[in-house]
Amino acid sequence: MMADEDIVLRAEALRKNFGKLEVTRDVAISLPRGARHALIGPNGAGKTTLINLLTGQLKPDAGRIELEGGDITGLAPAHRVRRGLSRTFQINTLFPDLTPIEAVALAVMERERTAGQFWKRLAAHGDAIEESFTILGQLGLADVATRTTRTLPYGQQRLLEIALALATRPRVLLLDEPAAGVPKDESAALFSVIAGLPSDISVLFIEHDMDIVFKFASRIIVLVGGGVLLEADPETVRSDPRVREVYLGHGHG
């Protein structure tokens, strides 16, 4: 198996209860460098909760989270981002009245700690703006860089979600249903963008479309009832009878 220093993100014995409901039960995951892992499971399996625990939006009741070998269990979300753990949201969480170039430049400047410089014109931050254009270009958003975010087509807003996360220069990227609400033909295009991300970024994505999961994930974590049912390569997952049973009602047999 993988050597220990290759694990970028590791979670051990994570537990979270909402009242009596166990939404995360002793979850252990480890994400190697450059991973393209998928997190799947039926609705209510606790996928988003797990992402929220990893990124710090929620505090676990028990367990430990390590990023590049350092304990981040108690860190605030913003500090985790600065250490290289970024996420996107299932429901667009953008800046509706900003333009993409402004939003991405803001993320870049927050990373560079220059966002507090109230005495310097925005246009004078040449490097940050240059880098922001490069990021937008990578995601095919260069042409709409100066349009107000709220006027962009939905698919482009989904790409902007990823652009904002990339601007933080992540080592680990957690994508919560990046193609949620995107038509099937467009979602394949969106995932090829994700597959083309720099190979040193480790990616964990939640996705419901099994065709896409099997195409783009090198490894799959199956979450059921808050616990990990199985973690394996796509072939094993595809042929596992328990997984088949979980997904039987959803048209994937």
């Binding site: 913003a78 970024s86 005495w119 709409v144 100066t146």
Partner: protein, 327 residues
């Protein structure tokens, strides 16, 4: 505008956004007109400039960062009392006195900001309101220092730079307040066009996303709150120095509420909206209250309803949209 803009034009677009428009230059030239056209109204013009400066301070936190406040008179009054008290105690040099007043209000603002950034929405409104009321009562209780309900008496403001005496007609007063309004406006204009201004708009647009891009948004809020408090303190200090009186009403709830009304009338988040709203509010009050005070309350109530219902971005936002459509 077309859908496809080459990146090079986009860079230009970013630069264009902070460029001075002819409207702005015209506006500041017009601000000099009272010297020539309405010399009898110079004291009113000073009052407007001071209130506009106060409104700009509120626009920075309310219009840009989205912090609603009903207690910002706290900082106006602290600046006013500070400038007034050091003058009563023997230091009447206006420029240094004013800077100290602004610094004092800014420091208090920074301390208070730790409380402000802990709460949101209705709780935020109540905390700002509560702090304003507390400061008012504190000033009332410290009678020996502030004069209490009698107001602070015995302020003597020395000539500016030892040269320009404050005259009865208000020439010096208006020149002084206008100069300070302009300087603070330049600072605020730079601030809102900086990366920091962008971060504030980010907070206003979606505070939930800010931590997810690694932003220390509470740090940003503390900084802008302190800057805003300092500018409010300068406005208060100006009032103390140009009128040589400070009364408890400089700390009143009414002043906190009025400034928000002025800002909403003119339009939030555009700096000039703060100035325009102040002009409309104070000129209307001066004219209507002269006829009958009841006209004034009736008039401002009506105007506020019309603006909120039909011009949700304020009078300036409404005008800007007409100009944009003509283009």
């Amino acid at each position: 505008m077309t859908d496809s803009i080459a990146p090079i034009e986009s860079r230009d677009w970013l630069r264009r956004r902070s460029r001075w428009s002819p409207f702005e230059i015209l506006f500041w030239l017009a601000a000099l007109l009272p010297f020539i056209l309405f010399p009898t109204y110079l004291p009113l013009a000073s009052q407007i400039a001071i209130a506009a400066l106060f409104a700009i301070s509120v626009d920075l936190i309310l219009g840009y960062a989205g912090i609603v406040t009903l207690g910002h008179a706290m900082f106006f009054g602290l600046g006013a009392y500070f400038a007034g008290i050091i003058s009563v105690r023997g230091w009447g040099e206006p420029v240094s006195g004013l800077l100290m007043a602004g610094l004092f209000a800014g420091i208090i603002g920074y301390i208070v900001s730790f409380l402000i950034t802990r709460v949101q929405h209705l709780a935020l409104l109540m905390v700002t309101l509560g702090l304003g009321l507390l400061t008012y009562e504190l000033a009332n209780a410290l009678h020996d220092l502030t004069g209490g309900t009698d107001g602070l008496r015995g302020i003597r403001t020395w000539p500016i730079f030892g040269q320009f005496k404050f005259d009865l007609w208000g020439y010096t007063g208006y020149a002084y307040t206008l100069a300070l309004l302009f300087l603070c406006f330049l600072l605020s204009r730079r601030l809102v066009n900086s990366s920091f201004g962008l971060a504030l708009r980010g907070i206003r647009e979606n505070v939930k996303r800010m931590p997810a891009i690694g932003a220390d948004h509470k740090g940003h809020l503390r900084l802008v709150y302190a800057i805003s408090a300092a500018i409010a303190g300068l406005a208060g200090g100006l009032m103390a120095q140009t009128t040589n009186t400070v009364a408890l009403d400089s700390l009143s709830f009414e002043r906190s509420a009025d400034v928000v009304v002025m800002l909403i009338l003119g339009g939030t988040g555009r700096l000039y909206g703060a100035i325009l709203g102040t002009i409309i509010f104070l000129v209307a009050r001066d004219q209507l209250a002269g006829i009958n005070p009841q006209y004034w309350y009736f008039g401002i109530g009506l105007l506020l309803m019309v603006v909120v219902l039909f011009m949700p971005t304020g009078i300036l936002g409404f005008l800007a949209r007409i100009v944009d459509r003509r283009k």
